[in-house]
């Protein structure tokens, strides 16, 4: 069944990607008219298309509630845990190819050797990738993708976007995802395998989705902020945190020096600095 699919399937992927790009272009175009009024409310520079993004977020949330979550729950119910872990490892191992390519593109040569070793070890000793032998022997997984490579090359992040069915990304994330899909062997082996890959991704996101559901006062903003911070942290390999410290400090520093004086002083002094703070972000 798989073979006859693969020919047309490539075409389908290209269609899907171009469809998404066109979709994004349309939604961006559509926003241009509403953008003016929206920007007055919006405080976040990274998210000029908030009003349409919020609609997409609600749409995706509904799709998840009524379609993805039930299927994912069924998958988790019928599949033994060791199989779930195996499937997770298998797809993760294929991603190592991507990681290695992006290591090289970012000139991280030592890391690329490390990740090649991981891939080789898991593919052979790890029975085609189902067992993550490499982590057990201390070869930890690195997280690299083409979006991070573009970031390293100096491509700006661009606006935050929520894409139907796929969720949060940025303008830089779209070519990033297209490249990574093209470079991942799992993209070429036919629909059933991809469905399993999708199920597996959803099943693994369970914890994070539950956390957002429980903790977020505004799930849209919570998802956006944590997504952007997480991506920024990955792209800078954790070095972004110092700027986050500074960010936090700017906000409360004048308050910090005033704090010893008394709380009432803090109130008056804080407002202007916080304004600067949100601008910087």
């Amino acid at each position: 069944m798989n073979k006859p699919y693969s020919g047309t399937h490539n075409a389908k992927i290209t269609q899907l990607i171009s469809g998404l790009l066109i979709g994004a272009a349309i939604s961006l175009g559509g926003c241009a008219t509403t953008g003016v009024t929206e920007q007055q409310i919006s405080t976040n520079k990274d998210d000029p298309y908030e009003s349409i993004n919020r609609k997409m977020f609600t749409f995706n949330d509904n799709v998840d509630d009524y379609v993805a979550a039930p299927i994912s729950d069924a998958y988790k119910w019928i599949t033994p845990q060791f199989m779930q872990t195996g499937v997770f490892n298998f797809f993760n191992n294929l991603k190592n190819i991507n990681v290695v390519i992006n290591d090289v593109l970012q000139a991280k040569f030592a890391q690329s050797a490390h990740d090649t070793g991981r891939f080789a070890l898991n593919t052979t000793m790890g029975l085609g990738g189902f067992v993550d032998v490499a982590t057990h022997v201390g070869l930890e997984r690195n997280d690299e993708d083409f979006e991070q490579t573009l970031a390293v090359w100096g491509v700006p992040q661009g606006s935050y976007l929520v894409i139907p069915f796929l969720g949060p990304t940025t303008i830089r994330g779209i070519p990033g995802a297209a490249f990574d899909t093209a470079a991942n062997p799992a993209s070429y082996v036919g629909l059933p395998v991809q469905l399993i890959s999708l199920l597996n991704t959803r099943a693994n996101a369970e914890g994070a989705l539950k956390f957002i559901d429980e903790a977020a006062l505004d799930p849209y903003v919570f998802t956006r902020e944590s997504f952007l911070q997480w991506r920024n942290n990955l792209a800078t390999d954790g070095k972004a945190e110092s700027s986050l410290d500074l960010d936090a400090e700017l906000g409360e520093d004048s308050a910090g020096s005033a704090a010893k004086g008394g709380d009432t002083v803090v109130d008056n002094k804080k407002a202007p600095t916080l304004h600067v703070n949100s601008e910087i972000k």
């Binding site: 903790a215 972004a240 410290d245 520093d253 704090a259 916080l274």
Partner: protein, 204 residues
């Protein structure tokens, strides 16, 4: 004239150092000690988490969280410039709700123990007189989670004002959320949402 200025500056710097030393002697708790004390208290509650139940964990964590975090300052930072528009009474209400929410989320998310431990990595002073304590949480059979605590001096003790977990800043995240809700839906909606979340935590 210049010499005089330099002298003045030297005296000033000396005073600053002396002040710091006295403050530390008086309390004895450095930023690192504040963080480690809190982490130990958290792990202790996790260890008896199941027997305590949610309400028990909440009660046991209230003091440790309030004493190690500067919840008043955090609550003011997260509403950002919107705080200008809040009355004194509203600000008090926000601080009170925010404090309960912070303790509740600890009580909910750190509910049991399966061999986790916090490891101290390093400590650094920031340019503006804060301290960042880098540490990570070791979870058996899982990837460790980086916890970076940002502390500021309050009176003569150190208090946590931000936690950055795996590069995601709690303060920045909350500030975006809280200011967005205040702008879109107003103060009462914000308090209602916080209370709803606390209520959910107690039921889960």
């Amino acid at each position: 004239m210049i010499l005089k200025k330099v002298k003045l500056a030297m005296v000033f710097i000396a005073c600053l150092f002396a002040g710091n030393a006295i403050a530390q002697e008086a309390t004895g708790a450095t930023a690192k000690q504040v963080v480690e004390k809190f982490q130990n208290e958290l792990i202790a509650v996790m260890k008896e988490g199941k027997q305590l139940g949610y309400a028990g964990r909440y009660d046991k964590l209230f003091e440790p969280v309030s004493n190690s975090h500067d919840l008043t300052k955090i609550a003011r930072i997260v509403v950002g410039k919107e705080s200008e528009k809040l009355s004194e009474e509203q600000q008090q209400k926000l601080i009170e709700a925010f404090s309960r929410f912070s303790v509740a989320s600890y009580a909910h998310n750190f509910k049991d123990y399966s061999g986790e431990s916090f490891i101290f990595d390093s400590e650094e002073e920031t340019a503006r007189g804060g301290v960042v304590v880098h540490s990570h949480l070791v979870i058996p059979d899982d990837k460790p989670v980086k916890f970076d605590y940002m502390l500021k001096e309050k009176g003569n003790s150190w208090r946590i004002i931000n936690i950055i977990a795996n590069g995601v800043s709690d303060l920045a995240l909350k500030r975006s959320e809280y200011t967005a809700i205040l702008q879109r839906e107003g103060f009462d909606a914000l308090i209602a949402k916080i209370n709803e979340k606390i209520d959910n935590y107690s039921k889960l």
